[in-house]
């Protein structure tokens, strides 16, 4: 089983409880007995955001599963070289820990998260160290791409091409995004909506292009690199609001992203 450690807490002098986002089973909480020791079947693999291969005894009755073995596939140690990249990585952990449910696998989202962490780690490396052909991301924009992928994968794909009420195509000027319907609404349909907010044209167009690119398997780099910072900032704000609206609370790290 393959998983990403999205939360770690010490349970006792030697044991640890880890929350894992696994590729095969979605989110799992497991007890790792002896997980704080150096010499254990887990080595040092149970650190936050480690990508590990693990063996688990699953409890069917609910409650904690028992982690028996784990080894590291990747440790994104480069993240700790840059505070922006690290903050982005914390937000990845927070979103995955919060949004994914148990027994609800999302392998596509899992791969997207790993890709995002790799890009963040690259961003943390000093100029020149970046691997050939790897773009150097702004961590805040990279998170936007992951958040859109998360929304699409979990069934909250934002509808940004036309009105969710009457299907009228959005063309020019600012448009209203209705949080409850998860999409744009035209002037006529706006009255039926509870919460909506006006998005400038450059904002909804950038977001629309990003959604299209992600659905085609892209990472949005091309769309973002030709956009203006003001549009990117508007997209970040809108996404922060949309995510908070769906979950009923604001992610702790969202303040960082909206800066």
């Amino acid at each position: 089983m393959e998983g990403l450690v999205v939360r770690v807490s010490d349970w006792s002098e030697t044991s640890r409880i880890v929350t894992l986002f696994t590729r095969e089973h979605g989110k799992l909480r497991a007890l790792a007995k002896g997980g704080r020791r150096l010499r254990s079947p887990f080595e040092s693999s149970l650190d936050l955001l480690n990508h590990d291969r693990m063996v688990l005894i699953r409890k069917t009755s609910g409650g904690l599963h028992l982690l028996t073995e784990s080894s590291q596939i990747t440790r994104f140690s480069g993240l700790a070289k840059d505070y922006q990249a690290l903050s982005g990585a914390y937000l990845v952990a927070e979103l995955l820990g919060d949004w994914v449910e148990e027994n609800d696998p999302h392998p596509g989202l899992f791969d997207a998260a790993i890709g995002c962490l790799k890009d963040l780690e690259q961003a943390a490396c000093a100029d020149g160290e970046t691997e050939k052909g790897m773009p150097k991301w702004n961590p805040r924009d990279r998170l936007v791409v992951l958040e859109l992928a998360l929304l699409i994968d979990l069934g909250y794909r934002p509808e940004l091409t036309g009105c969710v009420g009457c299907a009228k195509k959005a063309e020019k000027g600012s448009a209203a995004f209705a949080f409850g319907s998860g999409g744009l609404v035209c002037r006529g349909c706006r009255l039926d909506q509870r919460g909506w907010r006006e998005l400038p044209e450059r904002c909804w167009k950038l977001a629309r292009n990003l959604v299209a690119a992600i659905e085609l398997g892209g990472n949005g780099w091309a769309e973002l690199s030709v956009s203006e910072e003001s549009a990117r900032r508007e997209v970040r704000r809108w996404l922060g609001e949309y995510l908070s609206w769906i979950r009923g609370r604001r992610p702790r790290l969202m303040g960082w992203q909206e800066e």
């Binding site: 010490d10 002098e13 044991s15 650190d47 590291q72 140690s77 700790a80 690290l86 702790r252």
Partner: protein, 219 residues
């Protein structure tokens, strides 16, 4: 004694017993809950400890209670290094044989204790009392970073050794502090990491090897 009297006596006895139980039950439950909230103590252990205390002598239990109270009332943080101490300044900070130009920054008093057991480090310490953990809402204001900065402004310290845990959060905490100290005239170092001495290369994982390669030094 008539039937009625005996019944009344019995009744009284029963009801006073029950009252006793009702009064002691929440107390005992409360104790178990508080014990259970301690690290590493599950509900079963909490129950066992609570009943042990119930059976123990008054003196024993009061001594424990006094010790608990004293820890909170008499122990404060050292005015310099923030380690828990009874005095205004701890013994380590007052030790004139120590190198006062060398400062080792650790997360917990237990980390300092580990370095002291090693016995070869002769500088001073600074205890952060935690690490930055944005996911748990632990920001810089919850640690003793302000005190650290004030201490460094004193100008006596030449080198700050960032000895936080080699975890993502520990490294992140060091990164944050290093950022704050960047403009100050101090040397900033961190602990070496890599392959444990006495082990063999072929069994070291790739992270250990990469760390060891990064941290190699002149022979």
């Amino acid at each position: 004694m008539t039937m009625g009297q005996r019944h009344m006596a019995g009744d009284r006895g029963w009801s006073s017993d029950r009252r006793g139980q009702e009064e002691s039950k929440p107390l005992l439950e409360r104790l178990q809950e508080m014990l259970g909230a301690l690290p590493g103590i599950g509900p079963k252990s909490a129950e066992r400890i609570a009943h042990h205390l119930l059976a123990a002598s008054r003196e024993e239990v009061f001594e424990l209670a006094d010790a608990l109270r004293a820890v909170k009332e008499k122990l404060k943080r050292c005015s310099r290094c923030c380690v828990p101490t009874e005095a205004e300044t701890c013994f380590t900070c007052l030790d004139t044989l120590r190198d006062s130009g060398l400062l080792c920054v650790v997360e917990q008093p237990r980390d300092q204790a580990a370095f002291e057991r090693m016995g070869t480090y002769r500088g001073l310490y600074h205890i952060l009392h935690g690490r930055l953990s944005p996911l748990e809402g632990v920001g810089p204001e919850k640690l003793t970073i302000d005190q650290l900065i004030t201490r460094l402004r004193g100008g006596e310290i030449r080198e700050v050794i960032l000895a936080t845990n080699p975890t993502l959060e520990g490294d992140g905490t060091s990164l944050y502090i290093a950022g704050l100290l960047g403009h100050m005239n101090v040397r900033i170092t961190r602990l070496a990491r890599g392959i444990p001495a006495g082990s063999v290369l072929e069994f070291a994982n790739s992270q250990m090897l990469a760390d060891a390669m990064d941290g190699r030094n002149t022979f």
